[in-house]
């Protein structure tokens, strides 16, 4: 009978291929990790669900006329969504610790070594048969080392849209894994004495400094590295809304309504890039390996820079706070605090780690700008 056949042909089980089934399982896995293991649930629940939805056969929800596909085109292809999230990050972030001790910016700089080392790593993988990353691909993969979701999504959507799904998943997964990845590296590179260093209290920061800070950062970025201007611009815009004290309404909108709405949409949209043919490949495996490498190298570089600052300052800096330079705000600052407490039960490093932590956000936005300027077309 005609309609019965029509119906059967429209059924999922009649059309599902193995890849789709596997990707639906991947979506469920991400949801499981998000809920049960608290892996960055704000992003991974929508991404996982988006992956599930977008891989439902026949429905083509991730396609150009499907819902997640259209959201992708409007919000991710244009770069608007990650930028709006970055505005929210700026509005939620207190840069006080960084203003009080600007030298921690160097820790945020050092940790970006993870990014560039991964770039080399991705290019080296091309010597392995089966891998064929372009330089753009490699740069997009490298940014995972920035440990900063919106930056990674922004750069990947510009340089390697096909890899966006895998890169976003890797970035958020490793950010969730920071408490597991970082401590052994931190312990291996520091002595017990170094980990016990008690740091000086941070000085108070005036409101004027807080207001000038975003403008100064943006000005420097505009002069030196305009390719990072969208990212740094929205970050500092959000922060200015927060600190200027006269637009409370807008600051709240950036911190809540906008970031929440956009997070839902962004997650679903990223899910639409988690299709079997791009995700279930050797490439993804490579990306996951490189991502772990990136976080590890970034952590190590940060800690080593911390040790150098420890020496140069005559022992005033606890090298552990260098690990917070990878950003992964505020997870890595909490990890620093925890590892610090292991060494001395009265040594709270959280506020001190906040400086390098937010410095890492700026650092990886700068690195993203460099990669965009040097590999983009």
């Amino acid at each position: 009978m005609d309609p019965l056949l029509k119906l059967w042909e429209s059924m999922g089980i009649a059309n599902m291929d193995f890849g789709q089934a596997l990707m639906m399982a991947v979506g469920c896995l991400l949801i499981y990790l998000a809920i049960a293991k608290k892996f960055e649930p704000l992003l991974l629940v929508p991404i996982g669900f988006g992956a599930f939805l977008s891989n439902i056969p026949v429905a083509d929800i991730g396609g150009p006329n499907g819902m997640t596909g259209m959201i992708y085109a409007v919000g991710v292809e244009t770069g608007i969504f990650p930028l709006l999230i970055f505005m929210g990050v700026g509005a939620l972030t207190d840069f006080g610790a960084l203003i009080a001790r600007p030298s921690t910016l160097l820790l945020g700089a050092a940790a970006q070594f993870g990014i560039f080392a991964t770039l080399i790593g991705a290019v080296l993988l091309n010597f392995v048969p089966g891998f064929d990353f372009t330089l753009q691909d490699a740069a997009a993969i490298a940014i995972i080392g920035g440990a900063d979701g919106p930056t990674a999504i922004f750069l990947a959507s510009r340089l390697a849209p096909d890899l966006l799904g895998a890169i976003a998943v890797a970035a958020y997964s490793y950010m969730a894994l920071v408490p597991i990845i970082q401590p052994p590296i931190m312990r291996a590179l520091t002595t017990q004495a170094e980990r016990r260093v008690v740091m000086q209290q941070l000085r108070p920061v005036s409101q004027l400094e807080r207001i000038l800070f975003p403008l100064v950062v943006l000005l420097l970025c505009a002069l030196l590295l305009p390719s990072a201007a969208p990212l740094i611009g929205m970050l500092t815009f959000g922060n200015l809304l927060r600190e200027c004290g006269v637009v409370e309404r807008l600051s709240r909108a950036a911190q809540n309504e906008i970031i929440n709405i956009v997070t839902i949409m962004l997650g679903l949209a990223i899910g639409s890039k988690l299709s079997a043919d791009t995700f279930l490949s050797l490439q993804t495996l490579g990306i996951l390996v490189l991502g772990a490498l990136a976080f590890s190298i970034g952590t190590a570089a940060g800690v080593i820079m911390g040790k150098m600052m420890h020496r140069v300052t005559g022992g005033k800096v606890n090298p552990l706070i260098g690990a917070a330079g990878v950003s992964a705000v505020p997870m890595s600052a909490r990890v620093v605090n925890r590892v610090g407490l292991e060494a001395d039960h009265h040594n709270f490093l959280l506020m001190h780690a906040m400086g390098p932590n937010v410095a890492g956000v700026i650092g990886s936005a700068v690195a993203a700008g460099i990669l965009l300027a040097l590999t983009g077309n």
Partner: protein, 87 residues
Amino acid sequence: MSPTPMLIESLVIMLIGMTIVFSFLLLLVGILRVMSWAALRISPIAIEPEPMPSSALVAAGGADAAPLAVIAAAIARYRADHAGSRR
């Protein structure tokens, strides 16, 4: 592009990249110092003079739900606790 020249190019990018990152942030360190010095000359008494000690904040922990909001909340709470005498 074949792997080898790409490798060279990526090494160059690494070199340049780390140089720029460091230069950029080092420059920012300097500028921030100048900015703070100037800002404190213009409005010498800090409007929000909370010292930020290594303190009780940590109990706030619990690695969950809204990562970024946590900092904001923690700091807000901290300020609220310590601001009573001033505001």
